[in-house]
Symmetry: C2
Subunit: 151 residues, 2 copies
């Protein structure tokens, strides 16, 4: 929803990949997913698409920068549509929903680290865990396989 499907198509085609029927199905499912979906969730929601294809498509979209891969606090991987530019993620410890942020003073983190460490960072990962506003009041919901999201 939050990303133009046509732009994903362009991303694919501009990089020598085809926008096939099957990829369209997967991408539609991803676009309809909540932030913080699992690969297995996409797979089980699409009985017509093979497991390998779902994982391959997600990997491709990661390479193209269309998706972000993040880790829940327990390490379990989740995906969400990539915001443009460098950013990080806030992840709900209960429902696994993901939101982006970039407004903090992390832009100067890299140079600070460079001087502190005497080496150039070539990348970093920052994930912040919190209880999202939807989850704050509801003590019932538990994070389940596939990533439980709010109704």
């Amino acid at each position: 929803m939050l990303v133009s499907l046509d732009s994903v198509r362009e991303q694919l085609e501009n990089n020598g990949h085809r926008y096939t029927q099957t990829r369209g199905v997967v991408i539609d499912a991803i676009a309809a997913s909540s932030h913080g979906f699992s690969a297995d969730g996409v797979y089980t929601s699409l009985p017509t698409v093979g497991r390998a294809t779902v994982y391959r498509t997600i990997k491709l979209l990661l390479q193209l920068g269309v998706l972000c891969k993040v880790a829940l606090q327990n390490g379990s991987p989740r995906y969400s549509m990539a915001a443009s530019g460098h950013h990080h993620h806030v992840i709900c410890i209960r429902c696994g929903s993901i939101s982006d942020f970039s407004q903090c003073n992390l832009d100067d983190l890299a140079p600070r680290l460079a001087s502190a460490l005497g080496r150039e960072p070539v990348g970093h990962r920052l994930e912040v865990y919190t209880l999202c506003s939807e989850c704050e009041g509801s003590p019932e919901v538990t994070l389940v396989r596939g990533g439980q999201q709010h109704a």
Copy 2:
């Protein structure tokens, strides 16, 4: 090496766990490991100890705060002895060696995020990837299964 084995024993016993023969063997292996070891590496280095026990022991040491678990850039998990206090990790993208840092301006990160997000962070993970000084010059070494370390 960098941590007192006796203190690990105390940690265990103070928390109602036994310092068994087997745990001693695993902990010795871990203490002798370089920073950034893999569970499987410990397992295969100890033919007398069962796989489940290696993983269980590592899990226990994580719970006790004796070990840190970090992720390589590709997501593969590695472990290292925990420094005391809140800190983060610098990970070599080539050899997987891990060092700690805490001196950056990340202490004020949490409150900044709290106000930026309107929610309290309950935790965060920051991992910085770099090429360690040992790896900087050597174009040969490749990161292999189990975590290739410097000789």
